[in-house]
Symmetry: C2
Subunit: 345 residues, 2 copies
């Protein structure tokens, strides 16, 4: 198989190339695509130097893995598909299209069947939450969730990491200001990626404000959860917050079910779910760089002990939250004979 | 008035001394108390060097402001009261006692009437949440809340700040490890104050696990909210998380009311509440060092738009969350003629 990696020089793209090799993906050639600025560069995990997408450079691929933002995906994904290539897209561009499956490899792999050339990879925060919620949904029937996220700087890509990394030493120079005059400390650093100063702070605003005062990110959490879990009327109350963590998202979830929950049974269902680890107190930093998602603080709700559980889930937003799931979807497509399904159809 | 400040060398004690002077509290003498280790030291805002508590050093005070931890309060608060001193205690020792008022100055000042010598200052996270919840409760009748906290290192006092400050430069030396092997990065630093490495991490565990798998801190949020707002059956689903912020707590709240909410009216009620500021996107660092609490991201709940609101509240945990409210209570006691009420009774 010839594999294209679009957005190969970004934070997720770098991980895509590494994982294709690490997991021995059966590629005959891995071709990296990026912007003009990176053209010709040699990068780890790619078989040829970086190319720029054009009508005459995108022919002959079996699979294209996209992680270059929504506008690149909107412009180029269909052009790959027209040439018989199956696209796994990590942007938000196609996720909610009716004829595009939105897939977490352990949660709804069967949604890949009958795809029309584009498969969407979920938002990194939604991804992390899906594993424990699917495990519990299968037993109790998920009806409602209040979800509050703790999202890492890396959720905004390498530039999100770089912005936080640049702020930390500047603000560290005057620890007293962080205590007695935070507003003046904030004026000593710049921000353009995150909505406000992120070092030694938390910022409850990711993306633009849309419907009913909710951000893009919050609406994604509701809409994508409904699609992935196939619960169209799932009630979701989302709050998305950026925190000064480099990599590793966390989500605090109060989940309400159709049926009465049993704590031991719930823990057993979580522990039995693939690539999900139950741990008393999971923290995002501990799981940065690991493939598994971890869940802990599982407890019956104090307000509704019969049908609600609280849990805290963490996972690497660049791996399971992005690159790993993308490669897992490519593997599933290959195993199930669904690569170039479009071309054969 | 002679004023004792117990725990005068700690993070909150330092602020108590500063605020007594800054706010021109009518004290004739301010006497600092601390452990043997600090005895004899001269500190800002105190009229005499640091003393150690003993039967012959605690006589003759009108008010004692305690912030030296629960066991000191349990041992010494009653001894001050026996001598006619009114104690405002910042520890958790007395908060839930039936004959001890638990008071936020703007929320339930009338609870001070008829006190029996000890008045309790609420937990810093609960404190921050009380202002907007009281404003909305008065209009709509609060029935239930799902509350997820983002608590600063300073919530654990100066040692909590110091532990985070020590970890930041060590972990900053190898940014790549924070992305690719967080668990190994964590082994390069020590922690004893916070439940796990806090720098570039979030830790969903504050205090010990108690009833039903909830931490002390989470149970405080439920129990103290009920007492302060005088809603004995308030339903609370709490999750308390430590974040790498020096000072400034935040709480994401989904609040459900008895009556139908109106967003404009709710915002007006919040804006009209004393010492509460409505801001689109409040962040804890911006409000560190300020007296006001800020609330934002106010929006109707997606799952229950009729009766539920979501909001994000931030406040300085050492000021309004601790020292400021303590001094405000002392001011109220003075204004209302409630100092030495016990002695007169």
């Amino acid at each position: 198989m010839r594999v294209a990696v679009v957005g190969a020089t970004g934070a997720v793209g770098t991980d895509l190339l590494r994982l294709l090799r690490l997991r021995s993906f059966p590629a005959t050639e891995v071709v990296p695509f990026a912007s003009e600025r990176s053209a010709g560069r040699t990068i780890d995990g790619a078989d040829v130097p970086v190319r720029v997408m054009a009508d005459d450079t995108i022919d002959g691929f079996d699979i294209a893995l996209f992680s270059a933002g929504g506008s690149t995906s909107r412009t180029w994904a269909r052009r790959f598909v027209e040439r018989g290539t199956t696209v796994v897209d990590n942007s938000s561009a196609w996720r909610m299209h009716d004829d595009v499956p939105l897939v977490v490899s352990e949660v709804n792999p069967d949604a890949l069947d009958g795809h029309h050339g584009i498969i969407a990879n979920p938002n990194c925060t939604t991804m992390v939450a899906m594993l424990p919620l699917k495990a519990l949904h299968d037993v109790y029937g998920l009806r409602e969730m209040v979800a509050t996220s703790f999202q890492a700087a890396g959720g905004a890509g390498q530039k999100g990491i770089d912005e936080l990394a640049a702020q930390v030493p500047v603000l560290s120079e005057d620890m007293e200001a962080l205590r007695t005059d935070g507003a003046s400390a904030m004026r000593r650093v710049e921000h353009s990626v995150h909505a406000d100063t992120l070092a030694f702070n938390v910022v409850p605003m990711l993306g633009a404000i849309g419907e009913e005062g909710y951000t893009d990110e919050e609406l994604k959490l509701r809409n994508e959860s409904r699609k992935i879990l196939d619960i169209p009327d799932l009630l979701v109350s989302p709050t998305c917050v950026r925190v000064p963590v480099m990599v590793g998202h966390a989500v605090a979830i109060r989940a309400t079910f159709e049926r009465t929950v049993d704590l031991d049974e719930a823990n057993a269902a979580l522990a039995a779910f693939p690539n999900l680890v139950v741990q008393d107190v999971p923290t995002p930093l501990e799981w940065a760089g690991r493939d598994e998602t971890a869940v802990g603080r599982v407890r019956r709700d104090l307000a509704d002990p019969e049908r609600s559980l609280n849990l805290f889930v963490v996972g690497d937003n660049l791996l399971k939250g992005a690159a790993l799931n993308t490669v897992q979807l490519a593997e599933l497509l290959h195993q199930r004979g669904l690569v170039r399904a479009t071309a054969r159809a």
